[in-house]
Symmetry: C2
Subunit: 245 residues, 2 copies
C-alpha cells in the first residue's frame, strides 16, 4: 500500500525535513518514528522536497509504503495524537503504488514573508524576516520579471557541488504588499537547494538599492553562486503547496 500525506509544520525547532545521522530533530524523523510505532514496520517517508532547517510548511506532501493496510483516517488520527504539536497531518489518502511525492510533483509554491520594519510583533517573530530599510517594490517586481521562465539557476543554488541539471521553470513570482508585510510567492516546477532564499536575498538587494534591476540577467547568465545575493533567513519561508497532475 502507498499513502500520500499532506502536512503542516512550524519548522522553528527542527533541523529541516531530512533525517541526518542520529538527530531526531527532523520532520522526516518524527513522522517515521510515529509511523513505525503505529505499524511495527520500518518506514521510509519521501517528502516532495527537503525544506531547510527553520523553514515552515503549510502544505508539504509526502508518501510512504506499508505492508499491511490501514484506514487513511486511522493513520491521520494516530499521527496527530503522537506527533509534537508543531507538526500536523491534514490529510492521508491511499494512492497508486507508482505515486512518488517528489518525482511526480509538477508545481510548487513557496512564500517568503518580510516584515517591513525593525521588529515584528511577538506573534509573527518566528514566521517573518524583518527588513528595516525602505524597499522599492516596483524595482523588485521588475527584477522578479527577469527570473520568470526556464533558466539555469546555478547562480541561485546553495549546493556548490550540485552535479545535476540546474534548469528550472518559474511560472510566477507574486509580490504583495500588506500593511506591514511584504509577501513574495514563488511558483515553479521545482526549486534547487536554498534557491527561494537566495532569490529573495537578491530581490531584497534590488529593493534596498544595493543592486540594479539590470544585474539580474547577468547573475542568471553567469551561472555562479557568488554573483547572486545572500540567502535570506530561513524563518521567513514557508512551503505553501505542492501540485500533482
Amino acid at each position: 500500500m502507498n499513502y500520500k500525506m499532506i502536512l503542516q509544520y512550524d519548522g522553528s525547532r527542527y533541523s529541516g525535513w531530512q533525517v541526518q545521522g542520529n538527530t531526531e530533530q527532523t520532520i522526516q524523523g518524527k513522522l517515521q518514528s510515529v509511523l513505525e510505532k503505529m505499524t511495527g514496520e520500518e518506514i521510509e517517508i519521501h517528502g516532495s522536497g527537503r525544506t531547510d532547517a527553520g523553514v515552515h510548511a503549510m502544505g508539504q506532501v509526502a508518501n510512504f509504503k506499508l505492508q499491511s493496510a490501514y484506514e487513511p483516517e486511522e493513520i491521520k488520527r494516530y499521527c496527530n495524537q503522537y506527533l509534537p504539536e508543531d507538526i500536523v497531518v491534514l490529510e492521508v489518502s491511499e494512492v497508486p503504488l507508482r505515486f512518488h511525492s517528489r518525482l511526480n510533483a509538477v508545481k510548487k509554491t513557496y512564500c517568503y514573508r518580510i516584515f517591513l520594519g525593525e521588529k515584528p510583533d511577538v506573534f509573527r517573530r518566528k514566521y517573518v524576516t524583518p527588513v528595516a530599510e525602505n524597499l522599492n517594490i516596483n524595482k523588485m517586481k521588475a527584477a522578479a520579471e527577469v527570473l520568470l521562465g526556464t533558466h539555469d539557476f546555478t547562480s541561485f543554488c546553495g549546493n556548490r557541488h550540485f552535479k545535476k541539471s540546474a534548469v528550472r521553470t518559474i511560472y510566477e513570482i507574486r509580490i504583495e504588499e500588506k500593511k506591514d508585510e511584504l509577501d513574495i510567492s514563488f511558483t515553479g516546477n521545482g526549486f534547487l537547494q536554498n534557491m527561494v532564499r537566495i532569490l529573495t536575498g537578491t530581490l531584497l538587494e534590488v529593493g534596498t538599492g544595493k543592486r540594479e534591476v539590470r544585474e539580474m540577467k547577468e547573475i542568471l547568465e553567469g551561472r555562479n553562486r557568488s554573483l547572486a545575493g545572500p540567502m535570506a533567513a530561513a524563518k521567513g519561508l514557508v512551503l505553501i503547496n505542492v501540485e500533482y497532475e
Copy 2:
C-alpha cells in the same frame, strides 16, 4: 523617576502577568528581574491589569519607579536584550510620578480570536481557539448588544470572592468575520477577572444555539456566576491596548 512601558508578550509559556509565590514564569517576574539586574534596585512593576495564564498582549502597559535616572531608550534596549524572545518592550517613556498604569487607565480593548473549524493551521495554534460548530453570528451580535453600557457584571466574574464593585462599562463589542476566523473585540473601562473569557464563552453558547439571545438580560440581572456560560480558553485572548486620558 516613574517610567511607563508598552509591551507585547506571547503568554503561552507563562502563568500569567502576576508574580505568584516563587514561580519565575510570570511576565511581571521576568520584567522585574531584568530591571533589577540593570539597575541594582528592587523593582515593583505595576501592570494595567493581570492577564491570565496563557493570555497574550499586543499592547500591555506597565509602570515602575527608579531611584536613579536612566534614558528610556537605554531601558528599552536593555530589556529587549535580556528578556526572553516572547516578551518584547515596544516603548519606554518617563511619566509624572503620579502616573499609575492600572489606576489611570480609562479604556481597554481585548480581542478574542476564534478559529472557525476543527483545527487551526499550525502557525495560529497558540493564538486562536477552534470552534467546530456552526455559529449564528447575527444572534451573537444581538446578544453582544445587551452587554453594552454600564452593568453589574458579577455573573461574568471568575472570582467568586470578589468584594469590590463589579460595575463596569462596555463601550463596544465588535464581532468581525474573517475568512476562517471570528474576532470579537471588547472595549470597556475595565474588566473583572476572567470576564472577557466568560463573556466570550457565553456568546459562543448563543452562537451555537445552546442559549437564546433573550437569556443575556437574565444572566446580567441574576448577578450569579453560575448563570453565565463557561470560560473560553486562554490562548484565544489578547490584550490589544490600554488608553489613558
